[in-house]
Symmetry: C2
Subunit: 331 residues, 2 copies
DNA sequence: CTGAAAGCGCTTACAG
DNA sequence: CTGAAAGCGCTTACAG
């Protein structure tokens, strides 16, 4: 179509106003429009292959039926699994999703938020990086509804849906202790993001409750930029402390460290027991069955959309949801 | 902001027309506007925290600066890696990307295309499922620019960027033969999608060139819906033919089959040698280094965006790009 | 019952 | 040099 057909074209062809065409095509004022006219309008619309221009509609209705989603990195398996769930949930209620990856960079995060807001998204689902508090406050002041997912700032009064990271980490660590590990280690993140801090807190807490001394040599911290060779180097360092159990704070960390183990004469679970955060199908590639913490992603994604939709339709108090993780024992 | 501030608000405050405000804020007609007026406009825009409404702008300019991307499943590592590349490339030139997953379902694919077209995307990047030819013809007739990525229909005169699947598969199979495998098998797809058919053709072709008899028992085909337990079942069947080498037609197949091997007393590469389509970091989880076919995804994604942008700006002949894969030998 | 008119928030050809 | 006016393609309050 060299020129797209608009309501006006149909109106002209039928000999009525665009208003009437709009009513008919949107099935409004059903009883009040002559059957024959409605019929003709539908006929012509069909024949001309009319497609409503959603941009014009969005402008007029001040509603774009679009949700913006910002994750750390869409190519990360955790993010992409979540993205898929959000896509399905959003599509199911007539919304389209636009994605962005922040790379844990607050500047990039801010730019993405602004782009999405300028594009008039009806709401946002965000996994913010460190240092994005101010932008969230801006959003609140601008009355743009949003839900934090996977991460949150305890200091801010916002909607959020997160895992009970502290509890999950506690359970995982306790599992290692109960399995007979005397030197339980952790590969953690050097980040102030609360969901990550909580994972380490759960670890320390479980050790303390089991009466184990806190040994700093058993925890190594890696940068959140997730460079595999850096993670492996840190892990090598950690192994010098001879742990017989280890908790990996994310699927990325698990992948890097387990692949390193493959190159070393250290066997799982004989020499070292392992628990991974996040369940991904790729963990099955490892020779030994791996115990892991499953996040109920489906539930989290659906909750995020549900909460967002509620807050888009009317002002209300912030909804907070902390969902327990599930320890999948496989060893 | 209870009400968003518009050009009109600034114009009123400064005492000029919205036209002038628009010119100044878009840095147009620079020389022709009094310095003081321009200054005041910028000042007020800043103070009122003006954000241009992209929806209004899109309507007027008939350009949304949006690219629609449809993949098979955004949660598939291959798709999400590609998505990330497309996102970066598009953002780099001022475009936003909206994603959709077709699940290899032509009905769903068609609906996504229509949604995106109604939203007035400036162009599309598509990995179409079987049976989507008609929709592509519709797009051509409607003058909506698009580029096929990863897949194509040889019968259609469209832009596309794909891997040389036949060549890559041929090389991979030849590698197994040259490594001394006498019974090279393949786990392939029962699909008519040309990029998948080509992978099998490459396999047969390499066998023929090496003077090996074509043994149907050495090829098993799995459904493109990628159900892991089905793939494993097919693989078990295949193993009865005692192959000593095997080519996996995708990363999903590789993951399922390798995880199955972990449960069996079959060792890699001692009992069976392996080559996987697609390089993913999760392959490192396997105990043995794996030879694989690397698709130059960065190059493919960038090319797709470049071609799309060219075709969005002016009518021109279809661009076809077939990029060679790279065999990464690790065994 | 039916439809003309106004307006969403922008851009830009055009007139002065 | 400067800016009023028209218009992108819709929706809907309102008047007849």
């Amino acid at each position: 179509m060299s020129r797209k057909v608009s309501l006006k074209d149909i109106a002209k062809e039928v000999g009525v106003s665009t208003a009437l065409v709009s009513y008919v095509l949107n099935n409004l004022k059903e009883g009040r429009i002559r059957k024959e006219v409605a019929q003709r309008i539908r006929e012509v619309a069909q024949r001309l292959n009319y497609r409503p221009n959603q941009v014009a509609r969005s402008l007029k209705m001040r509603k774009t039926l679009t949700i913006g989603v910002i994750v750390a990195d869409i190519s990360n398996p955790f993010s992409s699994a979540l993205a898929r769930i959000l896509e399905d949930e959003a599509n199911g209620i007539g919304y389209t999703v636009i994605f962005g990856s922040s790379d844990e960079n607050p500047g990039k995060f801010n730019r993405l938020v602004e782009t999405f807001v300028n594009r008039q998204v009806d709401g946002l689902i965000l996994s913010p990086p460190e240092g994005a508090e101010q932008k969230l406050l801006d959003l609140q002041q601008a009355d743009v509804p949003f839900v934090l997912l996977d991460r949150y700032y305890p200091g801010l009064d916002t909607n959020y849906v997160i895992l009970d990271n502290l509890g999950a980490s506690y359970t995982a660590t306790k599992h290692l202790i109960d399995s007979g590990c005397s030197r339980v280690a952790m590969v953690s993140y050097s980040s102030e993001l609360v969901h990550l801090v909580d994972r380490e807190r759960g670890y320390w807490s479980a050790l303390a409750d089991a009466g184990r001394p806190a040994d700093p040599a058993l925890v190594t911290k890696v940068s959140i930029d997730n460079k595999p060779h850096m993670i492996r180097a840190s892990f090598d360092e950690l192994l010098k402390a001879s742990p017989d159990g280890v908790l990996f704070a994310s699927n990325i960390i698990a992948t890097s460290c387990l692949s390193r183990l493959n190159q070393l004469p250290i066997r799982v679970p004989g020499d070292i027991r392992v628990v991974c955060f996040d369940e991904t199908s790729s963990l099955d590639l490892f020779y030994a069955p791996l115990t892991c913490i499953r996040q109920p992603m489906q539930q989290m994604g659906k909750a995020a959309i549900d909460i967002l939709v509620e807050h888009m339709s009317h002002e209300k108090e912030a909804t907070r949801l902390k969902i327990p993780g599930e320890l999948i024992v496989r060893d």
